[in-house]
């Protein structure tokens, strides 16, 4: 059996990229984004991308680099604030943005990965999001039809992974990564700790390896924090002591 393990981001993306393709990219804000794969995507120079993700990076960070490099044609996202280049591109008509409610986006991806072509949701009924969409009543409530989403390639970030592609995420860095790992025709995962098959507890695995085609150990994680928010240290507690 061919190994799923690659040396780095560019070798893991080799042969998968083409102009005009769609890419799902995991993360919420800058939390849990595939940093190494985003940099390799920028360096590849692939163009005309449709990028599906909750956000498109933030000023100077994450998917912003691919955007600033002029590689993105369309964005499918729920929130794109804190991103001046995107704002300029959008206002000048240089990029298309399809806004999806966050839960609808997550469910469209989940459905896409689960082989469900469409579903009904109350979210967005009676708003701009519902314009032009099929509606239907169930038990007296109005629902919108939304379609499942798949991408040519999904790029995801996990905390730990093994050579079979099994993944474990950490805290809120999980977010969109597990659903996106199910909805790419090809799925590339980067992990902070890559181990041999059998070293992750079978009951602890979040994403079963069947969904992951290629995996590698990422390096140089920045994990930029958008809003570092702290509370004052009490005088009775010294640094390092657990709260």
């Amino acid at each position: 059996m061919k190994s799923k393990v690659y040396d780095n981001a560019s070798s893991a993306l080799a042969g998968l990229l083409f102009d005009g393709m769609s890419i799902m990219s995991g993360g919420f804000g800058l939390c849990g984004i595939p940093e190494n794969l985003i940099t390799a995507l920028r360096d590849s120079g692939v163009k005309g991308l449709t990028v599906i993700g909750n956000n498109v990076g933030a000023d100077d960070h994450g998917m912003w680099a691919v955007l600033a490099n002029g590689q993105i044609k369309k964005v499918v996202a729920s929130y794109v604030g804190e991103n001046k280049i995107l704002e300029q591109l959008y206002m000048s008509g240089g990029i298309e943005i399809e806004f999806n409610p966050q839960g609808t986006l997550a469910e469209r991806i989940r459905a896409g990965g689960a082989g469900i072509p469409a579903f009904y949701t109350r979210t967005g009924y009676g708003t701009m999001v519902g314009e032009g969409k099929e509606t239907r009543q169930f038990n007296g409530e109005n629902y919108l039809m939304e379609t499942g989403l798949v991408a040519d390639v999904s790029i995801v970030k996990a905390w730990k992974g093994d050579s079979k592609g099994n993944l474990i995420y950490r805290k809120t860095a999980r977010n969109f990564n597990p659903v996106m790992a199910t909805a790419g025709k090809q799925v590339v995962a980067e992990v902070e700790h890559l181990v041999a098959a059998g070293e992750l507890g079978s009951d602890q695995i979040h994403t079963p390896g069947i969904f992951v085609d290629r995996i590698f150990s990422g390096t140089g994680y920045v994990k930029h924090i958008e809003r570092r928010t702290t509370r004052p240290m009490p005088v009775t507690r010294s640094a390092g002591e657990k709260a």
């Binding site: 929130y79 806004f99 986006l105 009924y125 708003t127 809003r227 702290t230 509370r231």
Partner: protein, 216 residues
């Protein structure tokens, strides 16, 4: 004297009940987390995939893998659980969250809410707001009663694009509190901020409402 932002958050906190699972929006609603009465237990949900949100971290506890939906660093509690965005919105859309407290730009007398975009300005996106108002059992909106220009924000119909249709149950402003029957029963003024008269709030409101402040 009208309520301050802190007063409005404190008034919203009085709507919390023991055992509630609650999602708080950004702005004034976030402050509600600091005002939970000590005799009740409330679990805070963050839609990026966390149930059981703790306080902000001390400086040496900051973890970039642990943020809330406002992208602020946060801490976990012993009973915290983490899950994917799809599970998180399953929780929200499926009616498992008891209460959400959100900010607003405009509210209509039938419970319509607009809080995500202003035509002609850069659209940042609705994030999870449309899912929250569509799925959470009870929706409270906390907002200033009028625009800075003095124009009313509690209206017969919203002029801004909607976040949800007939979704608001309670509106808390700096001038008072309105109950809204989102099944067509209209709006009722149930409380006035100290020193605010019925004449003043009526003059600053375009929505039609019944005055129930003297009902009991």
């Amino acid at each position: 004297m009208p309520w301050t932002r802190d007063d409005m958050a404190a008034r919203a906190a009085r709507e919390l009940k023991d055992g509630f699972h609650v999602n708080l929006g950004v702005g004034i609603p976030t402050q509600v987390a600091n005002l939970i009465p000590p005799d009740i237990s409330v679990t805070l949900q963050s839609e990026n995939g966390m149930l059981g949100m703790g306080p902000f971290p001390y400086d040496d506890e900051v973890d970039p893998d642990l943020i809330n939906a406002g992208k602020q660093t946060i801490t976990e509690l012993p009973h915290t659980s983490y899950f994917s965005s799809a599970d998180s919105f399953g929780m929200i859309r499926g009616g498992h969250i008891d209460l959400s407290i959100l900010g607003g730009m405009q509210v209509a007398e039938n419970g319509d809410l607009a809080n995500w975009m202003v035509p002609g300005k850069m659209i940042k996106g609705m994030g999870g707001a449309m899912d929250l108002v569509a799925g959470v059992r009870r929706i409270i909106v906390v907002m200033e009663h009028t625009e800075k220009t003095g124009a009313p924000k509690f209206l017969r119909e919203c002029s801004l694009p909607l976040t949800g249709k007939a979704v608001v149950d309670l509106l808390i402003t700096d001038l008072g509190v309105f109950e809204i029957d989102r099944h067509g029963g209209g709006a009722s003024l149930v409380e006035l901020a100290p020193g605010v008269t019925i004449e003043e709030i009526t003059a600053k409101t375009a929505a039609r409402f019944q005055d129930k402040t003297r009902a009991s």
